[in-house]
């Protein structure tokens, strides 16, 4: 018999084991969540339930709050003009005050989208379990953390017990080998993965991303990929920590660069999946086959390379036909037509997927080559105050403004349009966000085309979907 502890383990198993409180009679595991991130939309009801139960927050020091979804990106002065937004903001302030929870408020200079500021502040570290009442929490997996999006009842459970009941997951290793061609970004990698494995392909899995492409990626690029794990149905996604991870974290606010740092970093590196560990599935993708990608339909799996044609219902597998027909009808696109050349009305650069400084730099490079087409509304929304400040230091707002883009205050903005930034009617939006569901961007009949920030900038200038490789 082999000693279970001596055998090779994946990072997922190591982190899971270290956080197991106990096995529950239901067969689930009671898993300790080391870091709980909260925001204004999914937390108020959880705090209300806490008041009904009359119990305190169990680990206020492990709980951190920001405001992102409802915050306006034009005028952020208080009270907000939207009464409901103001009420949600005040409620979050009150809950944090009452329970002694750190709140990264707009005044603190640290506010931003929860999945942008966690890493930025060094709150997100390898080997952690992290949860947030937000489906894109997998972003934090870029650091080798196991990070889950959860519902409001689980937010309550975390507040009172710092733990949640969850069934163990299988692990699928996804290798992206070779080298990405020019003009192909992290966003294109995750879109290609979802296209290959399907929007439900990851159900029951944690995705471990690796291979040469990931080895070379920056932390921000890894975050873009992990962010959309949920769009592939996976419960979480991660990249093993390496020197890139360590270098990114050194000196960040919650990772002091002191005499303990070297030991800490060594511990992080040891968390990486052991050679020869067991994976429940392995998938390999050749990077040279990935093109700049664009969605044409109503979920992120409906995507194709920019040189490809929109599918026809009779050429797709049987089980996809109805979905393709529904998507074509909603989008009002012609089957078999080229996706390049599709006119757009709005361009949105931002979100927790692609609202970081490297994203804005890439978009600015494209913005320098021209001017936003007449009739197109284009906005750039930094993912956080820190990103905004860095961009200002580098002169990016001037580049965007000169090219006809609107430069905004940080927030989620048009990713889900819970603030005033919304599509109108049937508008088509080239967007660097993560979901192209019907009505996602604020208009019940609005249409979203997901793509990389550079592709969005190129589309804004051309007034239509265009291949970023031909720009400049």
């Amino acid at each position: 018999m082999t000693d279970r502890n001596a055998r090779a383990k994946s990072l997922f198993e190591k982190v899971w084991d270290a956080h197991t409180v106990r096995e529950l009679p239901s067969g689930q595991t009671q898993l300790l969540i080391g870091t709980h991130l909260i925001h204004e939309v999914t937390s108020p009801q959880a705090f209300a339930m806490l008041r009904e139960l009359n119990v305190p927050v169990r680990f206020p020091d492990r709980t951190f709050a920001t405001v992102d979804h409802i915050i306006p990106t034009d005028d952020q002065s208080r009270p907000f003009s939207d009464e409901l937004a103001e009420a949600m903001m005040s409620e979050l302030e009150r809950n944090c005050r009452d329970h002694g929870i750190t709140f990264f408020s707009p005044q603190s200079g640290t506010q931003g989208i929860v999945h942008v500021i966690g890493p930025e502040l060094g709150l997100t570290q390898p080997g952690m379990t992290i949860a947030c009442g937000d489906s894109h929490t997998a972003t934090h997996g870029a650091f080798g953390a196991i990070a889950f999006g959860i519902g409001t009842s689980q937010v309550r459970d975390l507040l009172v017990s710092q733990s949640m009941a969850i069934a163990p997951l299988k692990v699928r290793r996804i290798n992206v080998t070779g080298k990405l061609p020019p003009g192909v970004y992290a966003k294109d990698v995750i879109l290609a993965i979802i296209r290959k494995l399907g929007v439900n392909g990851g159900v029951g899995y944690a995705y471990e991303y690796g291979g040469e492409v990931f080895d070379r990626m920056s932390m921000e690029e890894r975050m873009t990929v992990c962010n959309m794990s949920i769009e592939g149905g996976a419960r979480c996604g991660y990249v093993n920590p390496d020197q890139t991870t360590v270098d990114y974290l050194r000196g960040r606010r919650f990772v002091p660069d002191d005499e303990n740092f070297a030991a800490k970093a060594e511990g992080w590196l040891e968390l990486a999946s052991d050679d020869g560990c067991h994976y429940d599935d392995v998938v390999t993708i050749d990077a040279s086959m990935i093109e700049p990608s664009v969605t044409w339909g109503i979920h992120p799996g409906h995507n194709l390379g920019v040189s490809e044609a929109i599918p026809t219902p009779n050429t797709v597998p049987d089980d996809e036909r109805v979905g393709v027909e529904e998507a074509l009808e909603y989008m009002d696109f012609v089957a078999g037509a080229s996706i390049a050349g599709t006119p757009i009305d709005v361009a949105f650069i931002g979100s927790c997927t692609n609202g970081r400084i490297s994203d804005l730099r890439e978009a600015a490079k494209v913005a320098k080559t021209g001017h936003v087409k007449d009739g197109v509304r284009a906005l750039v929304v930094p993912g956080s105050r820190a990103v905004q400040k860095q961009a200002e230091d580098e002169g990016l707002p001037e580049i965007f403004r000169a090219a006809g883009f609107d430069w905004r205050e940080p927030g989620c903005s048009m990713c889900l349009a819970m603030n005033p930034d919304k599509l109108k009617g049937r508008e088509v939006c080239a967007s660097s966000s993560n979901r192209n569901f019907k009505g996602r961007q604020g208009s019940p009949s609005g249409r979203t085309l997901l793509m990389s920030p550079a592709m969005v900038a190129a589309a804004a200038i051309a007034g239509e979907v265009t291949d970023v490789r031909n720009v400049g």
């Binding site: 270290a18 956080h19 197991t20 409180v21 106990r22 529950l24 009679p25 009671q30 300790l32 080391g34 108020p44 009801q45 209300a48 339930m49 139960l53 169990r58 680990f59 492990r62 409901l84 009420a87 949600m88 409620e91 570290q125 080997g127 952690m128 519902g151 409001t152 009842s153 309550r156 459970d157 009172v160 017990s161 710092q162 733990s163 949640m164 009941a165 800490k264 511990g267």
Partner: protein
Amino acid sequence: MSNDKLTKIDSVKGTGCVVRGDDIDTDRIIPARFMKEITFDTMGEHAFEDARLQAKGQHPLDDERFAGAGILIVGQNFGCGSSREHAPQSLMRFGFNGFIGGSFAEIFFGNCTALGLPCVTLADEDLIKLMDSVELDPTQEITIDVAGNKVRCRAGDLEAGIPTGTRQQLLEGAWDATQVLLDAGDQIEKTAAALPY
């Protein structure tokens, strides 16, 4: 596991309210616009709001004879649609502590269980018998007997369906995920203390 803090639910009693019709979805139970709220407190006020407006006072929830009812009696596939926890919250806050129906949508059923609200099913002819009987005599007390797998009412003791696992959870008081998690006691602190962060 210590059960002292857990509420065991072996039966629910109350008068009934009959809402006929199949496939009543969560949007009908609580229209989406009322979800933009910071608490569930107001959810009860908006239970079936649009349906009640359309019925101009004729909706069962506005029927005086059913006032104060604790048990909602419904048709097939009740609670289909979205996963919103707001739907059972609104019905609970309106005053319902249990549901009897032909069948329930899976997520709605799960959300109800998590709130300690039993959902039990009846065979078609028994359901009709119960609905008719309650409409004829709304003052009668109805019992959802979880322990005995029965619905007891004037029309008789009817065979009630409830999945074994759910029945167990309700009877043992293990329906409350929060309580089950809290039962770990200081094992939570111990696990947290052993972490390198």
